[in-house]
Amino acid sequence: METLLLTVYVLIWPVIVAGTLYVISRGFFKEWAESRREGRSII
């Protein structure tokens, strides 16, 4: 049981990181597409 918990404890962080990366990337590409549609710089 303890081994399983420790395994989850170590491997959960890359999963959360992947989720965060997805959220940030989705936001970035959405803004990029919007700025292209509106003919302006993203920043």
Binding site: T7, P14, E31, G39, S41, I43
Partner: protein, 586 residues
């Protein structure tokens, strides 16, 4: 941040690796070939240079150079907050914490660092509401109080950013020396030149845009590297085979040793770094006002998961019974990567660290240039008389001079890292006066300045053990520290729940902590020093302000702080320039 990763640097950190002969331990590490490293660095810095060229303009806007026009979207600003907050040192220190304190170690490093971002967003919203067009926090303090408070914030940030820049260059040089045939000096110069090249022309705009690519590299690498090392090192079996390598404290997720030595000093430092540091303030002034909460919450999760995840390398090293090469804990992460990763993933690891240190280094350059542009040049000649072209020149020259200075410090000519503890203490002492200055109209310049100076003067003997703490003096400082606990908890609660709950939580926190803290806390000099700085600056600032007749009108800040360069073309509709650059790239 007094107790946090900066303090780790001050107490040794990466700077010591080279000086103590870290590169002599190279035999313990698998090395990438020279051409592979050159290719990786060219790809990384070439890519970021290309990105910054894409948004670069022939005629940059001075305000855009500092805050990107105050309307950054969520994706870029969340990426930028995350990338800036994560630097090479946070990864190394988290792994060190895991190796030293066991399974709870990375939590006591990464969680509090992450919460730091979360706790300031309510203050961030207030700061933006009061000063929507500001470039630096020091600039706001000048209007709110005057020159002395501005100088405290600006001065501490100049030193703080130079230290951070230096340590990032050192980290890059040390890593290149470990994992390639190149020397420390060659690595430092490659990193410094790479960062300066892509940041110099467009300043903060380049910094935040390239942060997105750096976040992709860093977070993407973490997603792959942690499981790769885990399974290569034996998977779940390592926890059974290596359980005897841990002490009972290291095996305990609720270790009091880990909390008192690692976690608690961080909690005390949570607000200090976030409030005092210009790299964070700059992003606060840049993001679109309605996106502040979303951005900060995302960055909290991103930073926390990344840094805690990398810290798991230290926990794994502990279970595996791995001894750090040369006895140096800073070698742990490269050693784990070098031992368990395929050479291709080792290249990914190199890019992860280079991405982490570059994103923070470019933020430091942008912070330094903004301070020189807005607080030195802008305030000297006045907003209406400032010449945008001269201002941009000041910013770019600052970046070049700062890079040269950091190279000088990195070469070991002068140990600037020793100043770190004072910067951290100054930021800790500034927290209450700065926050109060945005909410309470009675805070005066005299109260602000005197409270910070007195807090610093009280901090020094506690932090450096100049006084015998084993008698009544120790008890007195413990009582002051308990007040500091109340102040920290109260400030955190105030941002979210308002003054009434802040007072209740502050009082309850201090009362609950008192029986445990009085008589013991002075044994933990780092923690005690931070708490004393918080307590003294708060009490002095409160007592001096409560009696004042000042009734500051916060609208004054909006009226007096605005754009230096009203040429709007550069911040939002740079179509012609972008089109030109795009064509040039094609």
């Amino acid at each position: 941040m007094l107790g946090a990763h900066l303090a780790w640097l001050a107490s040794g950190g990466l700077a010591m690796n080279e000086r103590n002969g870290m590169t002599h331990e190279n035999a313990d590490f698998y090395q990438l070939s020279g051409w592979t490293v050159i290719l990786l660095l060219v790809l990384f810095y070439g890519g970021t240079l290309l990105m910054s060229a894409f948004i670069g303009k022939k005629k940059e806007n001075a305000d855009g150079y500092m805050t990107a026009g105050n309307k950054l979207g969520f994706g870029i600003s969340a990426a930028s907050m995350t990338a800036t907050w994560i630097w090479a040192s946070s990864m190394y220190a988290s792994a060190t914490s895991g190796y030293t304190y066991g399974i709870s170690g990375p939590i006591h490093y990464g969680l509090w660092g992450a919460l730091m971002i979360l706790f300031i967003y309510p203050f961030g919203r207030r700061i933006r509401a009061v000063a929507p067009k500001a470039h630096t926090l020091a600039e706001v303090m000048y209007v709110r109080h005057g020159r002395s408070s501005q100088l405290m914030l600006a001065g501490s940030n100049v030193v703080g950013s130079l230290i951070s820049l230096t340590s990032n260059f050192i980290a890059g040089g040390a890593l290149v020396a470990l994992l390639s045939p190149f020397s420390f000096g060659q690595g430092v110069i490659a990193v410094a030149a790479g960062v300066l090249l892509y940041t110099l022309w467009s300043g903060f705009r380049a910094s935040v845009l390239t942060d997105f690519a750096q976040v992709l590299a860093m977070l993407g690498a973490v997603v792959v590297i942690i499981p790769a090392v885990f399974f290569a090192a034996g998977g779940p079996g390592m926890f059974e085979a290596g359980a005897q390598n841990l002490t009972p404290e290291q095996s305990n997720f609720f270790s009091s040793e880990a909390f008192l030595n690692q976690g608690a000093p961080y909690i005390a430092a949570v607000l200090a770094y976030a409030i005092g540091n210009q790299t964070i303030a700059q992003r606060l002034f840049a993001v679109r006002e309605d996106l502040i909460k979303k951005t900060f919450v995302t960055a909290t999760v991103g930073y926390g998961a990344t840094v805690i995840g990398v810290g798991m390398l230290g926990v794994m090293a502990l279970y595996l019974g791995l001894a750090p090469a040369g006895g140096d804990l800073n070698n742990l992460i490269p050693q784990m990567a070098s031992t368990y990763l395929h050479p291709i993933l080792l290249g990914v690891f190199l890019i992860m660290i280079i991405g982490a240190l570059s994103s923070t280094a470019d933020s430091d350059l942008s912070a330094l240039s903004s301070i020189m542009m807005a607080d030195v040049y802008g305030q000297t000649v006045g907003k209406d008389k400032a010449n945008a072209k001269t201002m941009l020149l000041v910013g770019r020259v600052t970046m070049i001079v700062a890079t040269a200075a950091a190279l000088y410090f990195a070469s070991g000519q002068m140990s600037i890292l020793d100043l770190l503890v004072f910067v951290g203490a100054l930021w800790g002492a500034l927290v209450f006066p700065v926050i109060a200055s945005f909410y309470w109209e009675k805070v005066t310049n005299k109260a602000f300045t005197v409270s910070v100076v007195v807090a610093l003067a009280t901090f020094l003997p506690v932090r450096f053990g100049w006084l015998p703490m084993d008698g009544a003096i120790g008890i007195v400082f413990d009582v002051i520290s308990v007040v500091g606990i109340g102040v920290v908890l109260g400030l955190m609660a105030f941002g979210f729940f308002g003054l009434k709950w802040a007072k209740i939580i502050a009082a309850a926190g201090a009362i609950i902590a008192a029986p445990f803290a009085i008589g013991n806390l002075h044994d933990y000099a780092v923690l005690s020093g931070s708490l004393v700085a918080y307590a003294v600056s708060t009490v002095v600032c409160y007592l001096m302000s409560a009696r004042s007749t000042m009734n500051f009108d916060f609208d004054t800040i909006k009226q007096r702080i605005g754009d230096f360069d009203p040429d709007e073309a550069a911040t939002s509709t740079a179509d012609s320039d972008v089109a030109g650059h795009t064509a040039a790239l094609k």
